[in-house]
């Protein structure tokens, strides 16, 4: 079993590298995979020849590489936070998009865009992105706390209430976003549409730099909380009886996972169902032990978003599909499948 789990990590890592290399080569300017490898090797100083064209190098460095790296970061963030949130809510159906966390993040992001344009016109780019990330993080956190508090009765979280509260938060955030849309000018409207559909098209080294700490921190810390999240599956009372300081754990998990979701939403908008699809697939492959599910979800999320981004860039090239459309198209049937398969077993 352990060998099977370790080999899954290895396989996912290899697949991620291959997908990334492949994705780097695809687009309006095709770059052979070999050249991609050479340019990457050059970049980290392994290689100093120049058998590749400068144009290719430029496209790769300025356009493709930040986009692929951003896809990996956002995917890892969504994958791991999906797994962690499901752990805290004790239910495999909890998903950042479903319970209003993404909508909260997106609303705050939209508010920041509009306000930033009105108030801080002179703000530098990187600082602007940080502000956006913080805004989205705050929005995600507020939504998560509200849903969590509403869904709790007698110290247990009630999943039916949680999903209903999620619907409420989603439509409230949607209405407020709609209100802002109504008041927005053309430029802002375009940005807002971008947020609603989700896309990695805005990728630059600056956005990558801006979200890296907000993604790395959760990706490095959350896997250490696997044992605690397993115990949570027994129930909060039971977890407490196993010696866990449940309030501290809950707070830390909510902060870390909303941080990851907030950062992801800030740069790429709402990319739905990754947080549902990824941990579910991992659980089918290696079981539900969070010690493995959390890190594997980060890897798998990165892989899935890299592939999804590759699809949305090439499917009807040169036009680009929003990535959120792709993930929703793949994710919704899976969600329905889980619902139908487990409808007898899930206790709401």
């Amino acid at each position: 079993m352990v060998i099977q789990k370790v080999s899954l990590y290895v396989l996912l890592t290899i697949a991620l590298f291959l997908a990334a290399a492949f994705s780097l080569g695809l687009g309006a300017v095709k770059i052979p995979v070999i050249d991609v490898m050479i340019i990457l090797a050059k970049k980290i100083g392994f290689f100093s020849g120049s058998s590749v064209s400068i144009q290719h190098e430029g496209v790769l460095n300025i356009v493709r590489l930040p986009r692929v790296v951003l896809g990996i970061l956002v995917g890892a963030a969504l994958g791991i936070s999906g797994a962690a949130i499901q752990g805290i809510f004790r239910n495999p159906l909890a998903e950042p998009g479903l319970i209003g966390i993404s909508a909260g993040a997106s609303l705050m992001a939209v508010i920041v865009i509009v306000l930033e344009m009105a108030l801080f016109v002179g703000l530098s780019n990187l600082l602007g992105y940080y502000l956006l990330a913080f805004g989205a993080f705050a929005g995600a956190g507020i939504a998560a706390m509200v849903v969590y508090q509403i869904s709790r009765t007698d110290g247990k979280s009630n999943v039916a209430t949680m999903l209903l509260a999620g619907i409420a938060i989603n439509s409230l955030a949607g209405a407020l976003t709609g209100l802002i849309t109504y008041m927005a000018d053309d430029q802002q409207l375009r940005n807002i549409t971008f947020w609603m559909l989700g896309s990695l098209a805005g990728a630059t080294w600056e956005t990558v730099l801006a979200i890296t700490p907000f993604v790395l921190l959760p990706v490095l810390i959350l896997p250490h909380m696997g044992k605690a999240l397993n115990a949570f599956a027994l129930g909060e009372t039971q977890a407490n009886q196993l010696g866990l300081r449940i309030n501290r754990i809950k707070r830390n998990v909510v902060i870390l996972s909303t941080m990851a979701v907030g950062a992801a939403v800030a740069v790429s908008g709402i990319i739905g169902f990754v947080g549902l699809l990824v941990p579910h697939t991992i659980r089918l492959l290696v079981g539900v032990d969070n010690k493995y599910v959390l890190p594997a979800s980060a890897l798998m999320g990165a892989l899935m978003l890299t592939l999804a981004d590759m699809l949305c860039r090439t499917i009807i090239a040169p036009i680009e599909l929003p990535i959120g459309v792709i993930t929703a198209l793949l994710g919704t049937p899976l969600f329905l499948y889980i619902l139908i398969k487990d409808k007898k077993k899930l206790t709401l």
């Binding site: 004790r90 239910n91 495999p92 110290g155 999943v159 044992k227 397993n230 115990a231 599956a233 027994l234 129930g235 009372t237 039971q238 407490n240 009886q241 196993l242 010696g243 866990l244 300081r245 659980r283 079981g287 539900v288 032990d289 077993k345 899930l346 206790t347």
Partner: protein, 266 residues
């Protein structure tokens, strides 16, 4: 030793448990009996730390329970709750291993694994080890949860074992087996406190019985001392005959027929 000193629990304006005092020594098995709403579960929840007494004090091994940290308590006390809802498809053996979580940081030791195997053999759950918890029947799930509780304190001397209706939903064989295990553990030095509904099971296994009514301690003593027609009528409001089991010399209870008059309802 666990000492409950004049503990009460109040919620809103209702007193669910009023001024209850008792103590239990290592080696003893105490059964709590009482009608619905008598305050049994509330009392047990105070002992398990799920509720804090509004008045009175709880002392475990000469130290106030509230002065222990929850990791410390997890190594002294295990609780089998009445309701255990799990929505994630953990394997039965993973659920059982969670009972050892307080004992290890990252990876279970050989001893942790050994204890899990031993206990699962005892509770007859070995063959369920690799099955998903969600696919088990209610009774099987309950035995897996029991195993989890037992591995938690298996190697701890004088541990406190609390069980809220541990045999509801189990068939006759496992009802007997569960209580026999609890009894054997008490003989090994555990303090066992269990809520039961079946008076005969209580008579069979309890060293002492605590009878609750309206949140108060009504009677406290051995089965022969407290289980008689009069006391049972007072606490449960049913007529019954109580005999002595000639083999064990323990009391043995048979309820009398209750007549319900439906004609007045028309």
């Amino acid at each position: 030793m666990l000492i409950a000193d004049h503990i009460s629990y109040e919620t809103g304006k209702r007193m669910l448990v009023k001024d209850v005092s008792f103590s239990i020594r290592p080696g003893e098995m105490l059964v709590i009996l009482g009608a619905n709403g008598a305050g049994k579960s509330t009392l047990l929840r105070m002992l398990s730390g799920e509720r804090t007494p509004s008045k009175g004090s709880l002392t475990l091994h000469d130290k106030e329970v509230s002065h222990y940290s929850s990791p410390e308590l997890a190594l002294k006390r295990a609780v089998l709750n009445q309701q255990n809802i799990v929505n994630m498809a953990f394997m039965a053996q993973e659920i059982v291993m969670m009972g050892r979580y307080p004992h290890y940081q990252n990876n279970p030791s050989a001893k942790d694994r050994e204890i899990c195997e031993e206990v699962m053999k005892l509770t007859g759950t070995t063959h369920l080890a690799e099955r998903s918890y969600l696919s088990l029947s209610g009774g099987e799930q309950q035995r897996v949860q029991l195993s989890r509780i037992l591995v938690q304190i298996w190697d701890i001397p004088n541990a406190l074992l609390l069980m809220d209706e541990p045999v509801s939903g189990l068939d006759l064989q496992y009802q007997q087996q569960t209580l026999a295990i609890a009894k054997a553990l008490s003989k090994r030095g555990f303090m066992v406190i269990s809520i039961l509904h079946d008076i005969n099971l209580a008579a069979q296994y309890a060293d002492r019985i605590l009878m609750l009514k309206n949140g108060r301690k009504w009677y406290d003593g051995t089965a022969s001392e407290v289980l008689n027609t009069k006391n049972i009528y007072e606490v449960f409001e049913i007529d019954s005959d109580v005999f002595t089991n000639p083999k064990t010399l323990k009391p043995f209870f048979i309820p009398k027929n209750t007549t319900v008059n439906l004609s007045s309802l028309s």
